[in-house]
Point group: C2
Chain length 359, copies 2
């Protein structure tokens, strides 16, 4: 994550992982989830925070989910129902579950199918926010498979190339692949220049946005460095057509087609529905010798970190490396939250009569 999105030093409160995990579980239980389900939801958010992906951790997510459960937009006790199934595929109605609730279950189903048939994919409809895609792809890598996950954002806030009005969400996407000894590859992005949540982070941290990250409300890319304006739209990866925004836009549209049309949920931009999710796993043994694969991955990833950096840069990395370094660091030092996030936790817990030991 770019330095500008990190919590400024003066505003940081370091919290032990276990403490914030426990309070987050209690918040979910308070909202009506079972203890087991609360643990699963909290694990997605706290793992994101440990990885340094705080745009998809408790800071932005939890208060939104609290609102959505409170306003009955989310179902704390859903019954997942199977809409269609084949040896390799499963389509599920999540009965209004939060994405972090159904996601780990759905990804495990994809992994189980891949174990049996080489590839497995699960499409999920009628569900809330997934909190990014990285966690789910990672589940496959941790079980020795290649993982892939997408979710079609329900907030339709991104203008297509040449468009004046928003069309798609930030439509994030992730792939993960294991290695033998090297930290695994985990590629976890929004198909916009920046994730929507990063704008919220920028507002909180006072950071500026780079040229070509957002457009004005008529779809014209803003090519100056600016503080997040009151009203704006997001731009897809690339920013402008000359710089390849048609590629980011089309990647987002592919995501929409698979998450919403292939799942049978229906076009998000037309029906303004919450977006569907998609989870896929590839069994390595179905394609090649897994021992060789893992060793080849080590060779590849070691080769990459040995590429000499260009002037002004310290090193060449690959997706997932810094995040796994961050996990080690934050597990020891605690997770640096913005003081405002801690204030929210303490206020909400006091109002809700939840034990809150974060400091």
């Amino acid at each position: 994550m770019l330095e500008r999105f990190k919590v400024p030093k003066k505003d940081r409160v370091y919290v032990e992982e276990q403490k914030v995990r426990l309070v987050t579980e209690k918040v979910f239980v308070h909202l009506g989830l079972s203890q087991d389900d609360a643990k699963i939801n909290a694990d997605v958010l706290i793992t994101n925070d440990l990885r340094g992906v705080e745009s998809h951790g408790v800071s932005n997510g939890l208060r939104r989910y609290v609102d959505e459960y409170t306003n009955k937009k989310l179902n704390p006790n859903p019954n997942f129902s199977i809409l269609r199934e084949s040896p390799t595929t499963l389509t599920v109605d999540a009965d209004g579950a939060l994405g972090t609730h159904v996601g780990p279950w759905a990804m495990q189903k994809a992994i189980d199918k891949a174990k049996k048939f080489g590839i497995g994919a699960v499409a999920v409809t009628n569900s809330g926010h997934l909190a990014g895609c990285g966690y789910y792809a990672m589940m496959a890598a941790e079980q020795g498979m290649i993982g892939h996950c997408m979710t079609a954002g329900g907030a339709l806030n991104t203008v297509p190339t040449f468009g004046s009005k928003p069309l798609l969400g930030t439509n994030p996407i992730a792939w993960a692949a294991p290695a033998k000894s090297m930290p695994y590859f985990l590629f976890d992005i929004a198909t916009t220049q920046v994730a929507g949540n990063k704008i919220t982070l920028a507002k909180r941290t006072g950071a500026k946005l780079s040229p070509g990250w957002i457009s004005d409300t008529n779809g014209n890319p803003i090519m100056d460095e600016v503080h997040p304006p009151e009203k704006f739209h997001l731009l897809h990866i690339g920013g402008t057509r000359e710089n390849g925004s048609h590629k980011g836009y089309s990647l987002g549209l592919m995501n929409e087609i698979i998450c919403n049309e292939l799942s049978g949920w229906g076009p998000g931009p037309v029906h303004k529905n919450n977006g569907g999710h998609f989870f896929q796993a590839y069994d390595i043994d179905a394609f090649t010798d897994k021992t060789k694969f893992l060793s080849d991955m080590d060779d590849l990833l070691e080769h990459i970190i040995n590429v000499p950096p260009s002037e002004g840069h310290e090193r060449v990395i690959y997706a997932g490396l810094e995040e796994q370094e961050e996990v080690l660091k934050r597990s020891k030092e605690g997770i640096p939250y913005h003081k405002e996030v801690i204030n929210w936790f303490e206020t909400y817990c006091e109002e809700s009569n939840i034990d809150c030991d974060l400091r």
Copy 2:
């Protein structure tokens, strides 16, 4: 394709599709391929030219393939051998076939597996240039499925974010999805700012490259508009880190992992091998009602083309729309080749005693 990459009007020679198709087939037969295989190879290249994707048609490709067959780097009569197979997966040694030779066969295998098991994927090793990925993804869409294709470029000419030396190829990637009445979605890109072949086109047409498309030989992004310099490296989608090049780089790396490591071919950047290919098909019926899917796709794509354009732009499109319009146009008017390409054809054919009726 950007206007600057199109053949300048003064240099255009319009050639009927059937004429250039026939001559291209004859060239392949001259190189030792069977008549049937020559037809398949020519179809990939001419379809790209019809779609307006001339960076991956005969203009750049054919003379390269002639050299590679002549120098025994390609095998005109390969025996594809199966390295591993599961219900949904197939890994193949292509015995030195050109990518356009093994590609249509491999994609059809993926489609056939998807028909039976919901999803099918084929990984191919030991093969030459694929001429882009769009043709193969399109095959699935034309058979009512979602198609996906990748190939890890053998020319390791692209610097990773913060790197001073090239690491990956342009690693292209494509997805396609059918609709009921609307032209299908076909997303077909390099994971670099521009395809390597576009630089060749720019040299031929005298076009300039935009800021952030290439780096100098030390990996520093060139942020001025320049004519293609003698020596340079390519940059991934995004160009610079601030503008998201880590996303393009990681997309290219995912491609490398699936095409080379999952196929068992081994890491391209380490072994400098020709890259592997990957073909995947999703059967829509395995996930949802196909009639509904096709109708939802129409709703989505119609919704998109009705988004009002921003100032200075004529319309909002989606990937594949312009290319399918171009097919209709070029089928009638002929394909506008650069006169230099026609000269090459005529010279090569004369030397090789091949009938060449292009004018």
